[in-house]
Amino acid sequence: MKKVSVSFTLNGDSVKAEVPATWTLLKTLREYFELTGAKEGCGVGECGACTVIMDGEAINSCLCPIPEVEGRSVTTIEGLADEDGSLHPLQDAFLKNNGVQCGFCTSGMIMSSKALLDQNPDPTEDDIRTTIAGNFCRCTGYVQIVESVEMAAKEGK
């Protein structure tokens, strides 16, 4: 299988991946870099469990062909906590406010929310709901997820 060599920034580090050209960013993250925080919930861009941030935008990494990542900057859930282990306000808020239950959607949910807060530190409930419209969750009914993002936004101020 034809391999490609792709250089990009991953959680702040310069990295290079040599993987089959048909691989997606999600597959590369999970199998080449062994960053398994992003999940495959559907593989066709419907559920958002694979969400990562690329150049400031939340994307479904399961739909992103790896050649398109060349020269870009990618942040995953693993790149969110500080080096000393202290959590990002979103991570903290999801734990405090029960925004996480089974946790399978959580990585994607937090990454979508982070992209929102980076661009709009004071979002309305509607902004938050629109942002996570593509992130499915079966456990929470979204209420405490929305509240968690609101809590993190307040924390960030």
């Binding site: 559907c42 859930i77 991570q91 999801f94 089974c102």
Partner: protein, 799 residues
């Protein structure tokens, strides 16, 4: 129980889920993320027909594909029957009876290769006539789904040999005595559990053929029972089976049975001598995972002039699909709302399960209760209308009360139903809104559910082991499964409270049969109740050991301290202490990591850190060294249902009421939830924030059940196997939920708590259906209540 422990440090507090920090940092390892050395990837070939003979299978091309390590068909493995009624085999040899039927399986070094190999398998079928409607399937001359039963005896009918029947009192007489009677037919459909993490497992044998199964099941010991039975028939009798849970990406009932893919993974691992992982993709999850059981109910109820219920008569028909999993046993739970939701003296319930060539069903949150409650609560509204009584008032008249023994012999110890109905009325402004405005309406429905265990097997036990190290870390070996419900936090709160340490001192191990004592399963909303009581018992024993240690060590520590002080300072005068205060374990207590005498909790000398006692107790000298370890196997004094389907199977029962206000757009048929009040009798809110998470999540799934969710099955085939076509609610579907928590402390519960995992979902759909009726005067009796159904009904009314 509450009075004895007035000021809890941790129980009842909204402790954050810090113990699950790995879930917010991407570190939590789900089955998707788990790899074993040399692991292969398994893939399954499913049937192309709903009913057909397998004429031939050609696997030669698949076998030759590079990277393929095994190809199995029904001819390659023993033809052993599995499942609740032993009505299917692992790989089907001669006949397929549904589209989900497993025909062949492959193990390969990469998942893509396994998928390619599956495409290379050629199967020749001869189509057989199918039957896809349970009422058709019951008729004489209908195609038979099965030719023989588990013992090889010919089968003459598609009706399952599971005659679910419950009968109390005299229905005929009650009918005559009734002033008002109503009769309705309602139906519910297939619903996918939609766990965000799809189904999967890894099967791995050691050299001696002992099996480790990494698996998402929430009934780890049930898996062992079923696989042990399977092993005994495939030449592996006596082999050890260990089931280990990875982090589980949602369960909602899906992991209750041992599914066919799990047996296939075992067979592939046996054949290849390598660990084999099978992980469903989403389309497979929709097509091959047994969903919630659909059912059709004909329900009749009567009441007297005062509105007191006289009887309830109901017949249900369940489309069993082609094989039998837990879906066929949901009538055992349906009997609970049928007999015991509201006071009703005369009850008849009969459920008939019928084989068809559709997909088969199993459990989902509520286990038959949402379906049956849809029937009962629809009927409560139609009968109230017949009798000219306000539906809320009608429910209050017939409400259950503490101290009731129901016709099913359930003993209602604590019951907050009156408070729940009243709260819903108030929060919805019921009296101002009911029947007042065209296009807007209010409706309500209530529920009863097991909340103190559920004795569905002879043991309803739950084991727990606790050990402390000398640094004060507490290892808790839980025998249940953490499927996201928040148990790691709640159990750590209980252990911290009962033992006298802090939640951050607790380290939990869930889901490992090699470590844990037995458990009946993390199902039936039983975990907090059962594990909580087990934890309290184990903590009491561990505490006793610590305090015995303290009685030995405290005087030594204190006197040793005085000796050292004297050495440093010859002037030091030893205080005159009453060592009688710490002479007996009963005189001591532990709280917030400190040990102290009960009579003088802040004693200047006798209040010592727990770790100091543990260290001194361990490093004490030849032959006297001690560790702290305790276990509790909690099996409550409940009853199995007898042959009449009666018995007090739970220590306590949860009640609740859902009330909704809807707006119905008569142009589009769209139903909008303007307000949803979810009132629950929870015993005691162990962690209020986590409790709300259960209520919100369940209510949301209930709204989906009512309005949008449906697996569309046409001639046996799932037509909408994707999130795009299967309409689960998203964050954009705003449901303004107002939770109401009623806390009638339950004597049997840990710190008074009842189970609450399933209840929130149960009454949501009928509450919405009743509100839609109030809004537009049309009763949609067939879930889900889609805009199309509403528009069609409106059109029919005009004609």
């Amino acid at each position: 129980m509450e009075e004895k422990m007035p000021d809890h440090l941790f129980v009842g507090k909204s402790i954050p889920r810090t113990i699950e920090t790995d879930k917010v940092t991407g570190k939590a390892v789900y089955i998707d993320d788990l790899k074993r050395p040399g692991m292969l990837y398994g893939k399954i070939l499913y049937s192309k027909h709903a009913h057909a003979k397998i004429k031939s299978i050609d696997t030669s091309k698949a076998e030759k594909l590079e990277g393929v390590r095994a190809v199995l068909t029904g001819r390659d493995i023993p033809d052993v029957r599995v499942g609740f009624l032993k009505d299917q085999t692992v790989l089907k040899r001669d006949v397929v009876r549904q589209f989900k039927d497993e025909v062949a399986a492959v193990a390969a070094i990469r998942p893509e290769i396994a998928a390619e190999a599956i495409d290379l398998i050629k199967v020749e079928y001869e189509k057989l006539p199918g039957v896809f409607d349970p009422f058709e399937a019951m008729k004489q001359g209908s195609p038979l789904v099965h030719e023989v039963d588990a013992r090889g005896r010919p089968i003459k009918s598609n009706i399952l040999p599971l005659p679910w029947k419950f009968e109390v009192g005299d229905i005929e007489q009650a009918r005559k005595d009734s002033a008002y009677i109503s009769k309705d037919t309602v139906s519910t459909t297939w619903v996918n559990q939609c766990c965000m993490g799809t189904s999967g497992c890894i099967a791995e044998f050691d050299q001696n053929n002992n099996l480790t199964l990494y698996d998402q099941t929430n009934v780890i010991f049930g898996h062992i029972g079923r696989i042990t039975e399977y092993f005994s028939q495939i030449g592996l009798r006596g082999k050890k089976i260990r089931v280990v849970n990875p982090v589980v990406g949602g369960s909602f009932g899906t992991k209750l049975d041992t599914d066919i893919y799990e047996f296939i993974a075992i067979q592939l691992a046996l054949k290849t001598r390598k660990p084999v992982k099978i992980l469903f993709d989403r389309e497979e999850e929709f097509q091959a995972l047994p969903p919630r059981q659909p059912a059709v109910f004909t329900i009749e109820q009567g009441c007297d002039k005062e509105g007191i219920l006289t009887f309830r008569y109901c017949e249900a028909v369940l489309d069993n699909g082609s094989y039998t999993s837990w879906g066929a046993t949901t009538p055992s739970v349906m009997i609970m709302p049928m007999s015991s939701l509201y006071r009703v003296p005369n009850v008849y319930f009969k459920a008939t399960c019928v084989y068809t060539n559709n997909i088969y069903a199993q459990a989902m949150r509520g286990y038959g209760n949402p379906q049956a409650t849809f029937a009962v609560e629809t009927s409560m509204d139609t009968l109230a209308e017949e009798a000219g009584i306000d539906p809320a008032e009608f429910r209050l008249i017939n409400r259950n009360r503490s101290g009731d023994d129901t016709p099913m012999k359930l003993r209602i110890t604590s019951c907050g139903l009156e408070e729940c109905i009243t709260a819903v009325k108030e929060k919805l402004n019921w009296d101002d809104k009911k029947g007042k405005q065209k296009g807007r309406g209010v409706g309500m429905a209530s529920l009863i559910h097991v909340a103190g265990g559920a004795r569905v097997t002879k043991s309803d036990g739950h084991g727990m082991m606790i050990k402390l190290d000398e640094y004060g870390h507490v290892d808790v070996i839980e025998s249940g499964t953490d499927q996201g419900q928040g148990s790691p936090t709640v159990i750590s709160q209980i252990v911290a409270e009962a033992l006298g340490v802090r939640p951050e001192d607790i380290f939990l191990t869930f889901g490992d049969t090699a470590l844990a004592l037995w458990d009946a399963g993390t199902h039936a909303s039983r975990h907090t109740f059962m594990a909580g009581n087990a934890a309290i018992g184990a903590c009491a024993k561990a505490k006793r050991q610590i305090l015995e240690m303290a009685v030995e060590q405290m005087p030594k520590i204190i006197k040793g301290g005085f000796k050292r002080k004297k050495r440093k300072d010859p002037e030091f005068v030893e205080p005159d202490l009453d060592f009688g205060l710490i002479a007996n374990p009963e005189d001591l207590d532990i709280r917030d990591r400190m040990i102290f005498p009960k009579k003088d909790p802040d004693h200047p000398y006798f209040k010592l850190p727990l770790t100091q006692i543990l260290q001194n107790g361990l490093h004490v000298g030849t032959g006297q060294s001690k560790v702290v370890m305790a276990e509790e196997f909690y099996d409550p004094p409940t009853e199995m249902l007898n042959w009449e389907m009666k018995g007090n199977l739970s220590m306590t029962y949860a009640f609740g009421t859902c009330g909704v206000e809807v707006g119905v757009d008569e142009q589009t048929g769209e139903v909008k939830i303007l307000k949803l009040v979810s009132a629950h009798d929870v015993g005691k809110a162990m962690n209020p924030t986590l409790l709300l998470g259960q209520i919100y999540g369940a209510a949301y799934t209930g709204v989906g059940y009512a309005l949008t969710e449906e697996i569309k099955v046409r001639n046996g085939r799932v037509m909408n196997p994707s999130f795009r076509d299967y309409q689960m609610l998203t964050a954009m579907d705003v449901v303004p939920i107002e939770p109401v928590v009623i806390e009638p402390i339950d004597e049997a519960g840990p710190y008074g708590a009842k189970g609450v995992g399933e209840p929130g979902l149960v009454p949501t759909a009928p509450a919405i259906a009743n509100a839609v009726y109030d809004a537009i005067g049309i009763r949609i009796t067939d879930l889900p209540i889609t805009p199309e159904k509403i528009l069609t009904a409106l059109k029919e009314r005009k004609v």
